[in-house]
C-alpha cells in the first residue's frame, strides 16, 4: 500500500527539516541540500569534510557539519544499488558514533542531534529492508530483519528523548557555542516525538495487514505523533508534517472520517508548493484506499507541478492509481484497457526514476514488481522480465537477479515452464557475470533438473558440466564434482548429443581407473553420429585389448567366445538395418571394419575369407580411404593370406605395397608385428618370414631416413630374425642397437625381453646383465621395476640357480613387499615352481 511510502517521505523530509533547525551555517545548508538533490553526494561530503578539518571550528559548528555529513552519506546510500549500499550506511553510522564517543565528555548536548541522525539512518535501513522484503526470496526473514532494525531505532530515539529531558534541566535560554539552548532542546524534543511516531508507523506496516500487532503499533504511532502538537505553534512546519503523518495513520487503520477531517483542515491553510503537492498526494491515497478510482483520476488531472516544483510523492501516488486501474481492467478482463494502463504504469516508473533519482525510481519499481508479482499472468511476467532487464542494464545486479528469480518462481507456479527456464537462465547468467562460479553452476544444475522436460534442459546441464571441466585441471574436488555431474546427466537425460558427450567423458574417467567393463558399457551406447566417434572406437579397442590381456586360456576356449560382443558391435556398425553391408563407407565404418578384423583374427578359428572380403568391400565406396587405413587393412589382408597358407599371394600384396612411401612400409611392418603377437605360433613364423623378406628387399631402397625410423626398422629386423630362429644375427643386431642407445630405456627393455626368448645359457647370462640395467633405470616399487625383478628371478631359475632366485624373491618380500596382488601371485608361483 502506498502508505508506507508516506512514512518514508515523512522521515526524509524530517531529516531535511531537522537540518534547518540545527543547520549548518546558513546558506551552506542550502548549498548542501541542493547538491544532495542533484545527486552530487561526493562533492557534498568533500565539502563537509573540508569544513570539519578546519582549525577554528567551534563545537557548535562541528556538530552541525557532522550532522550534515551523516545526512549526506545516508542519502547517498539510498541512491546506490544494493551491493554498495551497506558500506555507505555503516560509514554514516560510524561517523556519528565516532563523534559521540569523542565529544561525549565535553559537549554533551551536542551529541543529541548527531545521535538522532544515527538513529534515523537505522530507521531508514529498516524501512528499506521492509520495502525490499516484498520481492525477496524469503519475505518472512527479511521482514523480521526490518523489524529488528526499526526496533533498535525506536529504542535509540526513546533514549534520546530521555537524554533531552536531562539536558533540559541544565540548559539555559541563550544560544551558546558549547551547548544547545533550552529553545533548541525543546524543538529537538518535539522532533524526536515525530520521528518516533514515524518509526512506529513503519513498524506497524511490517506486520501483516489486519493483525492485532499492526493496529496496536499504529495506535502507538498516532499517540507519539500527536504528542508535540499541543506545544507547537500553528505556523510551525513540523505541524504540517505531523498532520500528514496522522492522516496516513488513520488511513492505515481505515478510519476514513478522521483522515478526511484532518485533510480538509490542512487544505484550508496556505502551504508552500511542495507541501501542497504532498497534501494532494495524500488525498489521492486516501481515495485509493477507499477504492474511489474515478475520483483519483479526476484529482490527478490537476497540474503536476506547482511553481516549478514537482513532488515524487505525487508521482508515486499517480503510479499507484495507474496500478489500481490496471488491476481493475484485468479483473474485468478488458484486454485493451489493461494494456493501456500497463503501458502507462511502465512509463510512469521510468519517468519517476528519470525525474527524481534512483531512490524514488527503485521505490516505483518495487511497487511495480509487487503488483506484477502477485499475479502470474503472462503479461505480468513480461513486465517483470522487462523490469529485471532494466535493472540489469542499470547494473543493479543483485536486484536484477532477485527480480529474475521472482519472475521465474511465478512462472513455475503458473505452469509456464518455458518462460521459467528462460528467466532462471538469465538469472544464472547475471550471477556468472558477477564472477560467482559455484553459484552459477548450482543454478544451472537446479534449473536443468527441475525443468528437465524442456528441450533445452539437457544443453543447460551440459553447460554447467563444461564450466566445471574448465576449472578442474588441478583441483581434485572439482574432478569429483565433474564426475558426479556426468553421472547425474546420464541419469536424468536419455538422448541427444549432450548425453553422448557425457558418456564419452565418463567413459574416459572410468577407463583411467581401469574399469574396462564399465567403460565399454558406456562407449557402446554412444551414437555413431557423434563427432568424437572415431576416438570412441579407439578407446573401445584399447579397453578390449586390456580385457583380452586378462583372459586366460580356459576362458578363451569357451563358447561363445568372450570376444563375441565386440565383434557383434562392430558388425552393427558395418551393416545396414536389414543385414546387408553398407553401400557407402565413411571413415567411421571403415574404422569399425579395422577393429572388427583385428579382433576377428584372435578368434580360435578366424574366418580369414570373411575378413578379407569385408576389408575389400570397405575399401570400395564413394570416398577413397586414406593411406593409413589402406596400409592397415592391407596388412591384415596379408596376415589372412599368410595364415591360410597362400604365401605367394601375400608376397604379391607386399610387392604392391612397396610402391608406396617408406612411412607406409614401417607402419606395415609394425602392424604385422602387432598382429603376430596375438597369433598362433605357425602364423607368427610366417609373418616373421614375410617381414624378413620385405626388409631385405626394401633395405636398399630406404634412402635417407631419420634416426628414429632407422632404429625402429632395425628393431623389427632383429625381432623377426629371432622369431625365425636366426638367433645369432638377431641378437647381434640387438646388442648393437642397445649399446648405441644406452640412454633409451625402452630399447634396453626390449632387448632384455628379447633375450628371454632364447634358451641358450650365454644369452640368459646376458639377459641377467641386461635386466639389471633395466632395474636400475626404473624407480623402485613401480610396475616396471617389479617386472624387471620378476624377469631376473625367472632368468635365474632358467639358468638353474634356484637358490639365487629364491633368495632374491625372499629379499624382495622382506624389503619392499611383493607388489600388488597380481605380482604377488606371480612371485609365489615362481617360488613354488619345481
Amino acid at each position: 500500500m502506498p502508505i508506507r511510502k508516506i512514512s518514508l517521505t515523512v522521515l526524509l523530509l524530517s531529516i531535511v527539516l531537522n537540518g534547518q533547525v540545527c543547520a549548518g551555517p546558513g546558506e551552506e545548508a542550502q548549498l548542501l541540500s541542493g547538491l544532495r538533490e542533484r545527486g552530487l553526494f561526493e562533492i557534498a561530503e568533500y565539502h563537509c569534510r573540508n569544513q570539519l578539518g578546519r582549525e577554528d571550528l567551534t563545537p557548535r559548528e562541528r556538530m552541525q557539519w557532522t550532522v550534515q555529513m551523516v545526512r549526506t552519506m545516508a542519502q547517498e546510500a539510498l541512491n546506490l544499488p544494493a551491493d554498495q549500499r551497506a558500506a555507505v550506511w555503516s560509514r554514516a553510522v560510524d561517523t556519528a558514533t565516532r563523534y559521540v564517543t569523542v565529544h561525549a565528555a565535553q559537549a554533551k548536548s551536542f551529541t543529541i542531534p548527531v545521535a538522532t541522525q544515527a538513529a534515523l539512518v537505522l530507521a531508514k535501513q529498516g524501512e528499506f529492508l521492509r520495502l525490499e522484503a516484498v520481492v525477496a526470496r524469503d519475505p518472512a526473514s527479511e521482514m523480521q530483519g526490518a523489524r529488528d532494525k526499526l526496533r533498535i531505532a525506536a529504542k535509540e530515539l526513546n533514549e534520546l528523548l530521555q537524554e533531552v529531558d536531562v539536558q533540559l534541566t541544565m540548559a539555559t535560554n541563550t544560544t551558546m557555542d558549547e551547548a544547545l539552548s533550552q529553545q533548541e532542546l525543546i524543538s529537538i524534543k518535539q522532533r524526536l516525538s515525530f520521528y518516533l511516531g514515524s518509526v512506529y508507523r513503519n513498524q506497524a506496516v511490517t506486520y501483516p495487514s489486519g493483525s492485532g500487532d499492526r493496529v496496536a503499533a499504529m495506535q502507538r504511532a498516532i499517540s507519539a505523533l500527536k504528542q508535540p502538537l499541543s506545544q507547537l505553534a500553528a505556523e510551525d512546519p513540523l505541524v504540517v508534517d505531523i498532520q500528514i503523518g496522522l492522516i496516513g495513520c488513520h488511513r492505515e487503520l481505515g478510519q476514513w472520517p478522521a483522515a478526511t477531517g484532518l485533510l480538509e483542515k490542512l487544505q484550508k491553510n496556505t502551504l508552500e508548493p511542495s507541501l501542497q503537492l504532498r497534501v494532494r498526494s495524500e488525498q489521492v491515497r486516501l481515495l485509493l484506499a477507499q477504492q474511489e478510482l474515478q475520483k483519483c483520476t479526476l484529482l490527478l488531472e490537476g497540474p503536476r507541478s506547482v511553481s516549478g516544483v514537482t513532488s515524487p510523492e505525487l508521482d508515486l501516488a499517480r503510479l499507484d492509481t495507474y496500478i489500481g486501474l490496471w488491476q481493475q481492467a484485468s479483473d474485468e478482463k478488458n484486454e485493451e484497457r489493461r494494456k493501456h494502463w500497463e503501458q502507462l504504469t511502465v512509463a510512469a516508473v521510468a519517468a519517476v526514476e528519470k525525474e527524481h533519482g534512483e531512490y524514488w525510481g527503485r521505490r516505483a519499481e518495487l511497487r511495480l514488481l509487487e503488483h506484477a508479482g502477485s499475479r502470474g499472468a503472462p503479461s505480468n511476467l513480461d513486465v517483470l522480465e522487462r523490469t529485471a532487464d532494466e535493472l540489469y542494464r542499470k547494473e543493479n545486479f543483485i536486484e536484477a537477479v532477485n527480480a529474475y528469480d521472482q519472475a521465474a518462481d511465478l512462472a513455475l507456479a503458473g505452469g509456464f515452464d518455458e518462460v521459467a527456464l528462460k528467466l532462471s537462465y538469465k538469472a544464472a547468467l547475471v550471477v556468472q557475470q558477477q564472477g560467482d562460479l559455484d553459484e552459477f553452476i548450482n543454478r544451472l544444475v537446479t534449473l536443468a533438473l527441475r525443468l528437465r522436460k524442456q528441450p533445452t534442459a539437457a544443453t543447460i546441464h551440459m553447460l554447467a558440466v563444461r564450466n566445471v571441466a574448465a576449472v578442474m585441471k588441478d583441483d581434485s574436488q572439482r574432478q569429483v564434482q565433474f564426475r558426479q555431474l556426468l553421472e547425474e546427466h546420464l541419469q536424468f537425460f536419455s538422448k541427444g548429443t549432450t548425453v553422448d558427450q557425457a558418456r564419452v567423458w565418463l567413459g574416459a574417467f572410468v577407463q583411467r581407473e581401469g574399469k574396462w567393463d564399465e567403460a565399454l558399457a558406456l562407449y557402446v551406447q554412444v551414437a555413431s553420429t557423434h563427432p568424437q566417434f572415431p576416438d570412441v572406437l579407439q578407446q573401445l579397442q584399447l579397453c578390449w585389448d586390456q580385457k583380452w590381456a586378462t583372459y586366460d586360456d580356459a576362458e578363451l576356449a569357451q563358447q561363445p567366445h568372450p570376444l563375441t560382443p565386440v565383434i557383434d558391435y562392430c558388425h552393427s556398425l558395418m551393416t545396414t538395418d536389414d543385414g546387408q553391408w553398407l553401400k557407402s563407407w565413411d571413415p567411421v565404418s571403415r574404422q569399425a571394419a579395422l577393429v572388427y578384423s583385428r579382433f576377428a583374427l584372435r578368434l580360435p578359428q578366424p574366418q580369414y575369407d570373411e575378413i578379407a572380403t569385408i576389408l575389400n568391400v570397405a575399401a570400395l565406396g564413394d570416398t577413397k580411404p586414406d593411406g593409413k587405413w589402406l596400409s592397415a587393412a592391407n596388412t591384415i589382408r596379408i596376415v589372412a593370406l599368410v595364415a591360410q597358407g597362400r604365401g605367394g599371394q601375400a608376397s604379391e600384396l607386399v610387392q604392391e605395397l612397396s610402391e608406396s612411401s617408406p612411412q607406409r612400409w614401417l607402419e606395415m611392418l609394425q602392424q604385422l608385428a602387432a598382429i603376430a603377437q596375438t597369433s598362433p605360433a605357425n602364423v607368427q613364423q610366417q609373418i616373421a618370414q614375410l617381414q624378413l623378406d620385405t626388409i631385405s628387399e626394401l633395405q636398399g631402397k630406404l634412402g635417407e631416413v631419420n634416426v628414429e625410423y632407422r632404429l625402429q626398422w632395425d628393431l623389427l629386423h632383429a625381432d623377426a630374425s629371432i622369431i625365425l630362429g636366426n638367433a645369432k644375427s638377431g641378437y647381434a643386431l640387438y646388442a648393437k642397437i642397445a649399446s648405441r642407445n644406452s640412454e633409451r630405456g625402452d630399447i634396453q627393455q626390449r632387448y632384455a625381453e628379447a633375450l628371454l626368448l632364447s634358451n641358450d645359457e650365454m644369452r640368459l647370462q646376458e639377459a641377467l646383465v641386461q635386466w639389471r640395467r633395466v632395474l636400475v633405470g626404473h624407480r623402485p616399487r613401480t610396475d616396471q621395476w617389479y617386472a624387471a625383478k620378476f624377469a631376473l628371478a625367472e632368468t635365474y631359475i632358467r639358468l638353474g640357480e634356484r637358490e639365487e632366485a629364491h633368495q632374491r624373491i625372499r629379499y624382495l618380500k622382506a624389503t619392499s613387499g611383493l607388489g600388488n596382488a597380481a605380482w604377488t601371485k606371480k612371485f609365489q608361483e615362481l617360488l613354488n615352481r619345481e
Binding site: 646383465v769 632395474l775 636400475v776 631376473l792 633368495q807 625372499r810 622382506a814 624389503t815
Partner: protein
Amino acid sequence: MRRPSVFHRDQGGLEIKMTPMIDVVFLLLVFFVWTASFHAVEYLLPSSLSQQLGNAAVIDSPPPEVEFEDVIVRILWQDDQVVWQVNGQDVLSLDEVKQRLQLVAGIKTDAPVILHPDEEVPVGDVIDVYDISRIAGFDKIQFAIAQ
C-alpha cells in the same frame, strides 16, 4: 720397654719401621681412589662412511649387487616423537624395526642398510637403531649424510 741401645744394631733382626710405609700405602690408596674416574667404561661403535658419495654410473655393467636394493631405515621426528620407517612402511616400535631387520639379515647379511635420520632426531635414538642393525648382523651399515 727398655730403649734399644745402639749396640743392638749389628745383631740380626731387621727392624722395619712400619708406620711410614702404612702411611704411604694408605695415601696412595686415597689418591688412586680420588683420581679414579667414575665414568662408565666407554665402548666404541665403529661405522664406516661410504667410500664414495653419490651414485657412480652403473649403466655400463651393473654388478649383481644391484639386484638387492638398499634397505632404507628412516628415522622421522613427528610430534616430538621418534617414528621409524623401513623401506617406506611405517613401523611403530623399535622391536618391530629389529624384527624386520633380522628378517632381512636372515636372507642376506651383506645387504646395504642405510640409516636416514631426520635432523631433529636425538643421537641416542639414532645410535639405538644403529645398534640394532649391528646386532641383526649386517655388515654394511651406512648413514645417509650426503645432501
